[in-house]
């Protein structure tokens, strides 16, 4: 009679021996099984009664899931089960993809980052996900194992709505791959919560740039968190920063374009109006910081 998991609905814990077995199991139990990594979202949502999966499919020990590999010619691959603290501490990440470490450091607390993963942050598909922007602007591509074997899925178009992605039943994201980044790149993630640390982002601005043969001399990439149903790329703002010589006015114009592009909601954590102004102010700040880092 004693419930070993008070507060959680009853479920079975499944640990398949291979990716194929895992994909098959997930496809066969569509709607009642979920792949499981760090559990930082899964258990919270189950405890709150939003998710009522019968099966939790532990895929974190499968081949390659726990690896970080870097190759100077092909780039970085982070296995789906690599926790954020490992990403933050990785010398390769720090040297070649520092934006990812900067973004990961803003997620929740140290304790939580020992369980939470980058791929989990992406698959959870919260518009507030702190690391998603960095993955988008650095051209991250997901490696997905499905019923038909391995394929790659770019992050562009991956997010469909809050908590919704293009993944199909049986799909398991095994890793995220980043290309070798252009010489001289720089990035910045600014998270705004309601307190100094650990709140969810009410606005997050990711900015990334590298020298290029453009009117501004740079190619700019931006991503916004918590201001639309999905992580948002304000393309017009990117174009302004790339297409015009960089001046204070250009930065202000781009920041305004980012603000105009977003469509946040009012909720208990922040008003839509505040969020929009914060997008403007923090885009200006993030872009300015990137420009300082580029020099």
């Amino acid at each position: 009679m004693h419930n070993p998991r008070p507060g959680l609905p009853e479920f079975d814990y499944v640990r398949p021996a291979s990716l194929s077995e895992a994909s098959r199991f997930l496809a066969e139990h569509q709607g009642e099984a979920r792949p499981f990594m760090g559990g930082t979202d899964t258990f919270v949502r189950m405890r709150d009664g939003f998710w009522k999966e019968k099966y939790i499919v532990d895929v974190k020990r499968l081949d390659g899931m726990g690896d970080i590999t870097f190759d100077p010619s092909t780039g970085l691959t982070i296995g789906a089960a690599v926790n954020m603290n490992r990403v933050i501490d990785s010398p390769e990440v720090q040297e070649h993809y520092p934006l990812l470490a900067e973004a990961a450091k803003t997620v929740a607390s140290f304790q939580l980052r020992s369980r939470a993963t980058i791929v989990g942050n992406i698959c959870n598909a919260s518009p507030a996900g702190d690391t998603i922007g960095a993955c988008i602007v650095m051209g991250g591509v997901l490696k997905v194992h499905g019923l038909d074997g391995e394929r790659e899925v770019p992050l562009t178009g991956f997010f469909v709505g809050p908590g919704k992605t293009v993944l199909k039943p049986g799909d398991i994201v095994t890793a995220i791959r980043f290309p070798v980044l252009p010489q001289g790149h720089a990035g910045r993630y600014i998270k705004l919560g309601r307190n100094a640390l650990s709140d969810l982002a009410i606005v997050g601005v990711t900015a990334f740039a590298y020298p290029d043969d453009t009117p501004s001399g740079y190619r700019f990439k931006l991503a916004l968190a918590s201001v639309a149903p999905v992580p948002l790329v304000p393309e017009k703002a990117e174009e302004i920063l790339t297409g015009k010589p960089i001046t204070d006015e250009t930065i202000a114009e781009a920041a305004q374009a980012a603000m105009d592009a977003c469509n946040p909601i009012d909720d208990v954590r922040g008003s839509a109006r505040y969020r929009k102004y914060m997008v403007r102010n923090l885009t200006r700040r993030a872009v300015t910081d990137v420009l300082n880092r580029l020099q």
Partner: protein
């Protein structure tokens, strides 16, 4: 030399806490640690509606679920169903006062009056089954319009929270000292403002919890409860259940934070489960979850004030008028303690001859309001400190200067206010030196230097830095009384029992210090027991910053008696006059010949002989019981100051430096005092910039989780906190102490407001509302 006045050894010292080894190693017993054989688990069906009629309840499906033992609704309770008692008397001491008693009920019968109000309880073999069974219960509701806003509650077309009343007016109290209108006629400056303070949660880390066990063979009920008031709870339960007080034992074990809501008694859960345990003859456990804590644990703060202050052109207050509405929520079991405290604190630390204060208390469809750390005081202090700041701006005075011109002077104590306080006694401030406290805070924050040198330099660098300094008073240590029994054992160790409960205040140490000094023993050899009615059964509880004052002095009184017994025995056995003895190192000894001594353990055995005869009138053992009840409450005071920096693009705030100067009379243990101040400060900061319970127009609490309701974390605390002390001993008790449990929380919103206005001086900001948030402040500043 009178050896009885030997120098203090422990009181006033930074003694590390006796209880910490147990707490830090997980050995301390909390309510949820109680596991009994055959124990059942309870879960409560709570209303999703803030206001609705209950048309029908069907529990039959829940009863069919395997593992469900019982399901109770109001209809099953028979005569046991009745509204709880009024915990605080009505304000009849005030002429013309109106008060409508509508106390909480164990389970909603015809109507629900707030979201989270319990409707049914399921008792099952596990909490898991009990929770599942809640979903089997069918309730048909007829939703009613929710009464949410305080002014709206009083509108003639508002829905009625209590159908049998003509309106939602719960109480109306007018108090006046002097004559405000006459004072106003003589004033050079009159300022009027609307001041709003909204609700927050106490959010103790340990939620509420109850474990009950009816032993049918012994005919005894044991209740482990996270209560701040074990003895009154025991007495009330015995009366309700038709038992003798000796058949009911209430134990308040270690409790992870009280902060007020746990003084609220006869909560539905703690009334129902003993009744159910007696019927089922099995132990039952209920541990509140965090969502329940948000919905069904009492809250505080909501008030709207219309304030008017009249001053001379040199900044002297001639009079103050404060007309306010106080939200009591769906019921008013705690009487008018909170709004009366507000009335008594809106005069602040100032000599105000003419004061008119009028409160309308209203029922709303929100959780019940009872004291939360501060208990109406922060609202009163916010009112007066804000009005003084605005007057200072108007008159071109510094915040320090206007306060100094209005303080009650040190030679004017005891200072009588001619209004009634929360204990229905005349409000009297016993002692204090308010200017000295403010000056100390100003010196510690380096006020003059900051304003003249540092701030202009930082502003020139484009930084929005601001400074604030405020004063406050805190009425503390109210009666009626507490008691204690102290026993020296054969091992020489000392046992102290008192009736108050403990929720982290360090009682096991500060009380031990008082006793150790009297009896000359090591503070580690004093074992303190609190909150177990089987050990001590007289007293009221831990509330109103009164533990150290009232229980502390009761313990002191009992210790003095035990000391006298020891000296008497010592004198007899060592054959020297009492005056030549001293108590030290766990012995009574001759002061000039320390080797001539008897240990207290030996003495305890001698004082409790097994054979032979005793002299007539002899009490056995080295034991004494005594009580203490103050004439009236001691009033503590303090001044807080801070320097903060605002990012005007986001309105995120960083507190660079925080100074708190306290005068709580005799300091028992500076380490514990600092913990109290810092903890209170974190709650005060929450009330200023982080924590606000958001109810929508339907009375739905929108942020009932720790993800959405933002508690202050260590990373939001000031980078630097400096504490200073002044000691003006209270003449009202032998120790000379005043309470400090709530002090840290009280001045923070007013201080925060002043510092924000100062930091954002170029935005001409006026803050008359709390809590704020970066979001809200941004919208205030850029409203155009």
């Amino acid at each position: 030399m009178d050896v009885r006045t030997m120098t203090k050894k422990y009181v006033g010292q930074r003694i590390t806490r006796n209880e910490d080894p147990r707490l830090l190693t997980g050995q301390a017993l909390f309510t949820d640690d109680v596991h009994l054989p055959g124990m059942l688990h309870a879960a409560f069906l709570r209303s999703d509606y803030a206001h609705a009629r209950i048309k029908r309840i069907d529990t039959s499906k829940a009863l069919e679920r395997p593992g469900v033992v019982a399901v109770y609704t109001a209809a099953d309770m028979g005569d046991f169903w009745k509204p709880g008692p009024l915990l605080v008397p009505p304000p009849t001491a005030v002429p013309g006062a109106v008060f409508h008693k509508r106390t909480q009920i164990p389970l909603a019968k015809d109507k629900v009056r707030h979201m989270g109000e319990p409707i049914a309880v399921v008792i099952a073999e596990s909490r898991y089954i009990a929770e599942d069974a809640l979903e089997d219960i069918e309730v048909e509701f007829e939703p009613l319009p929710a009464v949410v806003g305080l002014e709206e509650a009083l509108s003639p077309d508002a829905a009625l929270v209590h159908d049998d009343l003509e309106s939602n007016l719960a109480a109306h109290v007018i108090q006046e000292k002097g004559n405000y209108e006459e004072a106003k006629a003589k004033a050079d400056v009159i300022l009027q403002r609307r001041i709003v303070v909204d609700r927050g949660a106490a959010a103790a880390m340990e939620n509420r919890g109850v474990v009950v066990n009816w032993d049918d063979k012994a005919q005894e009920l044991t209740v482990w409860d996270t209560t701040q008031a074990p003895i009154p709870l025991r007495n009330g339960l015995a009366a309700m259940l038709g038992l003798s007080e000796h058949q009911v034992r209430v134990i308040a074990p270690f409790v992870g934070g009280g902060f007020g809501p746990k003084i609220m008694m006869f909560q539905p859960e703690e009334v129902l489960l003993p009744w159910a345990s007696m019927r089922l003859k099995r132990p039952i456990k209920w541990i509140e979850d965090r969502r329940e804590n948000f919905l069904a644990t009492t809250q505080e703060r909501g008030q709207i004030h219309d304030v008017e202050i009249a001053l001379t052109k040199d900044g002297r207050i001639l009079g103050l008028k404060d007309v306010f509405i106080h939200d009591t929520g769906a019921y008013d079991p705690y009487g008018m303690t909170v709004p009366l405290n507000t009335q008594c604190h809106a005069v602040g630390a100032y000599d105000i001859a003419n004061y008119y204060t009028e409160v309308k208390m209203v029922f709303t469809n929100k959780m019940i309001v009872t004291p939360v750390r501060g208990a109406g005081r922060p609202q009163g202090i916010f009112v007066i400190e804000r009005m003084l700041d605005l007057a200072a701006k108007e008159l071109g005075l510094s915040p320090i200067e206007i306060r100094k011109r209005n303080f009650i002077p040190p030679d004017k104590f005891p200072y009588e206010h001619n209004i009634i306080d929360q204990a229905f006694a005349p409000l009297i401030f016993d002692s204090g030196n308010y200017p000295a406290v403010l000056e100390k805070a100003a010196a510690m924050i380096n006020y003059e230097y900051f304003v003249k040198e540092e701030q202009p330099r930082l502003r020139a660098e484009g930084k929005h830095v601001g400074i604030g300094i405020v004063s406050f008073i805190e009425t503390t240590g109210v009666g009626p009384y507490e008691g204690a029994r102290i026993t020296v054992g054969a091992s020489g160790k000392v046992n102290v029992v008192t009736g108050v409960g403990t929720q982290g205040q360090g009682h096991f140490t500060s009380f031990a210090q008082i006793v150790a000094d009297q009896l000359g023993v090591d503070v580690r050899d004093v074992h303190v027991v609190t909150g177990d009615t089987a050990q001590f059964h007289w007293g009221t509880g831990t509330f109103a910053s009164r533990g150290a004052v009232v229980a502390g002095n009761a313990i002191h009184a009992a210790a003095v008696k035990v000391r006298a017994k020891i000296l008497q025995w010592g004198s007899k056995l060592l054959d020297v006059p009492e005056e030549e003895l001293e108590l030290a190192d766990g012995k009574v000894r001759v002061a000039d010949m320390p080797e001539k001594a008897i240990s207290l353990g030996e003495l305890a055995v001698i004082a409790n002989p097994l054979r032979g005869t005793v002299e007539p009138g002899t009490e056995p053992g080295l034991e004494a019981t005594d009580y203490f009840g103050p004439q009236y409450g001691a009033t503590a005071n303090g001044a807080h100051a801070m320097i903060l920096e605002v990012d005007p693009e986001t309105m995120m705030v960083e507190i660079k430096k925080y100074v708190a100067v306290e005068d709580c009379g005799t300091v028992l243990n500076p380490l514990i005092l600092e913990g109290q101040i810092q903890g209170g400060l974190s709650m005060g900061l929450g009330n200023a910039y982080y924590e606000k319970l958001e109810y929508d127009n339907n009375g739905q609490l929108l942020n009932a989780s720790l993800m959405d309701y933002l508690l202050v974390r260590s990373t939001d605390m000031p980078k630097q906190i400096e504490l200073g002390h002044e000691e003006t001993k209270s003449p009202l008790n032998p120790i000379g102490s005043k309470g400090v449990g709530e002090a840290g929380a009280i001045p923070v919103p007013s201080l925060f407001a002043q510092a924000l206005e100062n930091a954002l001086a170029d935005y001409n900001l006026e803050i008359t509302e709390m809590p704020l948030s970066p979001n809200k402040l941004y919208e205030m500043v850029y409203k155009k």
